[in-house]
């Protein structure tokens, strides 16, 4: 046996060996002297008699040396041989683990990319999103006014810089056809705050950030490739937006996708422009970069001080405001955190089931190998060595499983990217070293989880006993442990299935709500408009009214309307209102969902008029419609029509007369009960509302016709985002759908695994008790009795597992409570059907081995005796 020598190895024990052997030689010397030799002679003889001391020392070192490398190599060789010798067993284990680990790694890769990693900007954790907060109003958080942004940037001491942006969908008209591009209008210092530089050209310079300075624009990598075919000479070119030409000064890297992936250009907003001086107007989503070492709390208190000063300086506009300070990463990802961790929990349960399954397989396998293990132990192997060897086998299996799992994870995260395209940062998901490392950790974890227990279990017990019964019956019929494992698998599977069931039920419930409006055959789209148009509101209204009239005149169009929000897509816009004539109950605040729609909206959405008449728009005074909930909640038994509503603090909306009452519609989201709502009848509330067109037939067929019409009447504008309303509604619940699909998939996998576990254990038990069954059949037992016996055993274990699973599911359903609609987390009907489903599937899985047991041929068994 070659021994591995490490020349640099420390030998702390050498002096001890030396002393021990020396003592022996001295004793021999003493002995020789006593026999009458001279001391020199005695010593010489003693050394001779003792033999090669160096050689002995080396042997002693060998005893102490833990031959990790050598033993490990040997164990790996054995493990590979073991895997080769039992390919079907190994393949089952490897594939099961590949599924379990692969699914886990795939979800982890999403969690890592979306939740764990810092934002993809240099020191992205120092980026903070800033808002102005006014606790005295209904919606306290608003965007930052440009002068305030500049004040904050100038007066604070904790940020390297503060900047901001807002986006607009604009028409770019330098080409043959107007083209829609999404433009981010940015405050100064935008790229400095992000710490990102253009890959081509330069940042916007300070001259271009001033009002009246040269027009400069940064474009995205995507626009550069799409419009300019990645032309390196693009910097000389210009884009035409809002009837002005903008010189391209830089191309951003492909990785820079802020505020989102669709943003194609960044335009500076000069802080000294006359239109940017109003402290009341919230424009910017602001963000700052913290100075190194500054905490979020320090930054917050610093900005609070700054804002308090501004409050004294501008009491009218600034006194009630405080800064809102939240890490940018937090505002980016907080929406999907719950779903992702829930999925991670689910895949971890799945991995646990996988491991439990494999524990059962290894235990069964270990019983078959009892003889081999006994022989090894009796030949002098220590239990530790055998355990190590068995663990190495599990590890090689787990590692192979993990490698195959990486392939699974790669495929799965592609699927995930497709399904979760609306998630933030989803384009950052990819398999890299961290994921590989995580997968390896998973495989070690799986090794310990799967291998440790069977390894100790199989090396336990009486050697001679096992050796003596070798060849007789390798297996024992008593398998309480395996049954326990089956129970655990069933319990975990029921937990997952319960969660999936609840999500499916709420998904179904969501599909069955009656929204109060009719989303079928409605096409939605935008026509580019710019905020510059708000300078002349009359002209704007004329444009939009004309567009609506032209749309209505199209063949196939039943009606057309505009709205600020899409009905049914979650978006709450609650406002406090006052009534000029006095409220019915003066102590009760009137709060209602506010919608701004064209008068044709109700007809287009088929929201019924219940009382009064439809609102009109004459350009002088405002008309308002309220829904039934509003009338019932705030004016029970009193007339509501003819009263005047006001939105205090909103100078843009003076009082409006209530003209009629409409039916309740789920405006704020399909998943919300309709509450009191107020519709302000304004066709042109802003230059870029949603257009809603009700077609007589399938709406997507209308897209081309619409485009042609708009081109004809508004050649400088582009039409974009032509999407059926139903698709919007689907997308709005995309995250919902994603987690439902994935959890259901995991649950189905878990149930399959649990059934495989049940099937395997029962088959094993049947094989172990073949002789007993044969004898009983020979003695006159009925086949039905045998089937019943095994089937009941399997079902009893499943049932107990289901009970435990019910408890677990009820406990874990709390995690889901925020994701459910129309079903309570402890919904008994769902859990009961989950248990029934599990029992049914388990019955099938148990039936096959039970039937096999009944077909044991007694003669055959007796002959084998």
């Amino acid at each position: 046996m070659p021994s591995w020598r490490f020349p640099f190895r420390k030998r702390p024990l050498d002096p001890q060996y030396e002393a021990e052997l020396c003592f022996h030689i001295e004793k021999l010397t003493d002995e020789n002297i006593a026999a009458g030799m001279t001391p020199e002679e005695a010593r010489r003889r003693a050394v001779l008699e003792f033999g090669g001391a160096e050689q002995i020392k080396e042997e002693l070192r060998d005893v102490q040396r833990i031959r990790i490398l050598e033993t490990t190599l040997k164990n790996f060789q054995w493990a590979l041989r073991f895997i080769r010798k039992s390919p079907s067993f190994s393949i089952v284990v490897i594939l099961t683990l590949a599924l379990g680990i692969g699914a886990n790694s795939a979800v982890f890769s999403a969690i890592d990319a979306i939740l764990l990693r810092p934002l993809p900007y240099p020191e992205g954790d120092r980026l903070i999103e800033l808002q102005q907060v006014n606790q005295k109003v209904q919606r306290p958080q608003t965007r930052l006014a440009p002068p305030r942004l500049e004040d904050w940037n100038r007066l604070n001491s904790t940020f390297e810089g503060i900047t901001g942006y807002y986006t607009e969908d604009d028409s770019e008209t330098s080409g043959a056809l107007p083209e829609k591009i999404k433009v981010a209008y940015v405050a100064p210092r935008f790229l400095q705050v992000f710490g990102v530089a253009p890959v081509l050209g330069r940042d916007i310079n300070s001259g271009e950030e001033h009002f009246g300075g040269p027009n400069a624009i940064l474009i995205s990598d995507h626009l550069w490739r799409r419009r300019f075919a990645a032309d390196p000479n693009v910097l000389a070119k210009q884009l035409r937006i809002h009837d002005s030409l903008w010189s391209i000064v830089g191309v951003m890297p492909a990785s820079f996708a802020f505020p989102d992936r669709d943003t194609e250009a960044w335009l500076p907003v000069p802080p000294d422009a006359p239109y940017a001086q109003h402290r009341e107007w919230g424009w910017f989503v602001a963000m700052g970069r913290l100075k190194p070492g500054v905490t979020v709390d320090q930054a917050r208190s610093n900005l609070e001080t700054v804002q308090a000063e501004l409050g004294k300086q501008y009491p009218q506009t600034d006194a009630d405001l405080t800064p809102g300070v939240v890490p940018l990463k937090e505002t980016t990802i907080s929406g999907v955190r719950g779903s992702l961790w829930m999925l991670f929990g689910a895949v971890s349960l799945l991995l646990l089931i996988t491991c439990t399954n494999i524990v059962a397989l290894l235990l069964a396998r270990g019983t078959q190998r009892q003889h081999e293990i006994s022989v090894r132990l009796s030949l002098g192997a220590s239990r530790f060595m055998v355990v190590c060897q068995l663990l190495t086998e599990s590890f090689v299996l787990a590692l192979t499983g993990a490698l195959v799992g990486l392939v699974v994870a790669g495929a799965a995260s592609n699927v995930f990217r497709g399904l979760a395209k609306d998630f933030p940062r989803v384009e950052e998901i990819h398999l890299d070293g961290r994921i590989v490392l995580y997968t390896l950790v998973c495989s070690v974890f799986a090794t310990l989880l799967c291998g440790l227990f069977p390894a100790f279990r199989c090396t336990r017990g009486n050697l001679s006993g096992a050796l003596a019964q070798a060849g007789r019956s390798h297996v024992s019929g008593h398998t309480p442990l395996q049954w326990l494992l089956v129970g655990v698998q069933v319990a975990l599977a029921v937990t997952l299935l319960g969660g999936a069931g609840l999500l499916l039920r709420s998904f179904q419930a969501l599909g069955h709500v009656s929204p109060g409006f009719d989303p079928q055959n409605v096409l939605t789209f935008h026509i580019t408009g710019s905020y510059g148009e708000t300078v002349d509101l009359k002209k704007l209204r004329a444009r939009i009214t004309r567009t609506l009239d032209e749309l209505r005149a199209l063949p196939g169009v039943e009606s057309a309307a505009t709205s600020i929000f899409l009905p049914g897509v979650p978006n709450a816009y609650q406002n406090e209102l006052t009534v000029s004539e006095g409220a019915a109950d003066p102590n009760r605040k009137i709060v209602a969902e506010t919608r701004i729609v064209s008068p044709s909206y109700f007809g287009t959405m088929r929201i019924p008029l219940l009382a009064g008449e439809l609102c009109r728009e004459d350009g002088n005074s405002f008309n308002v419609m309220v829904n039934r909930s509003f009338a019932n909640a705030y004016f029970p038994g009193a007339t509501v029509i003819g009263r005047h509503l006001q939105e205090p603090g909103n100078p843009l909306l003076p009082g409006g007369e209530i003209r009629g009452i409409t039916g309740d519609a789920r405006e704020e989201g399909l998943n919300r009960e309709p509450g009191p709502a107020v519709y302000w009848c304004v066709s042109a509330p802003d230059p870029d509302p949603y257009y809603l067109v009700r077609a007589r037939t399938e709406p997507t067929a209308m897209a081309a016709v619409l485009r042609r019409k708009i081109k004809e009447i508004e050649p400088a504008r582009s039409v974009f985002d032509i999407i059926p309303l139903e698709e919007h509604l689907n997308d709005a619940f995309g995250e919902n759908r994603l987690r439902t699909i994935l959890l259901t998939f995991f649950a189905v996998t878990a149930v399959s695994l649990a059934c495989i576990g049940l099937y395997g254990t029962l088959s094993y038990s049947v094989a172990a008790r073949r002789r007993e069954v044969g004898l009983r059949l020979a003695l006159g037992a009925l086949q039905g009795q045998i089937v019943k016996q095994f089937l009941l055993k399997g079902l009893a274990v499943t049932f107990l597992g289901c009970l435990a699973g019910w408890g677990l599911a009820a406990a874990f359903a709390r995690v889901l409570s925020g994701m459910l609609y129309g079903v309570s987390p402890s919904d008994a009907a769902t859990l009961l059907s989950v248990v029934l489903l599990m029992m049914l599937v388990a019955a099938f899985a148990a039936l096959i081995p039970s039937l096999r047991a009944a077909h044991v041929d007694p003669m055959q068994v007796l002959r084998e005796e």
Binding site: Q16, A19, E20, L21, F23, H24, E26, K27, L28, D30, F50, G51, G52, Q55, I56, E59, L60, D62, V63, Q64, G380, S382
Partner: protein
């Protein structure tokens, strides 16, 4: 004729060492002396086998060792039997007796 190590099964040497150590803490030299005396000079155990065996038994936890002063005042490593060593010895003794008995009866029958 003295029996040397190569003829002695390793397990047997271990058993003999354990047996000798039952008598009380003893150093390596003492063990080799005892082996020789008790076996009436039949078993000659080379130090090259004795010390690795001692260390191996110590590592397995069957022997406990500590440094102490020998009869002539020098430092020596003394070995004594641990509780697990005691059990092991018992097991090996009974195995040995069974084996020896079986071998003996075969030899007798075959005569």
């Amino acid at each position: 004729m003295p029996i040397e190590k190569s003829d002695l099964l390793q397990g047997t040497l271990d058993m003999l060492i354990l047996k000798i150590v039952t008598l009380g803490p003893i150093h390596g030299y003492g063990i080799s002396q005892r082996l020789r005396q008790i076996s009436k000079e039949v078993l000659l155990v080379q130090q090259g086998s004795l010390y690795p065996a001692l260390h191996r038994l110590e590592k397995r936890g069957w022997l406990a060792a500590e440094w102490g002063e020998s009869e002539n005042g020098r430092q020596a490593k003394f070995y004594k039997l641990s509780a697990r060593g005691k059990q092991q010895l018992k097991k090996e003794e009974s195995n040995w007796n069974r084996l020896a008995g079986a071998v003996a009866s075969i030899l007798q029958t075959a005569q």
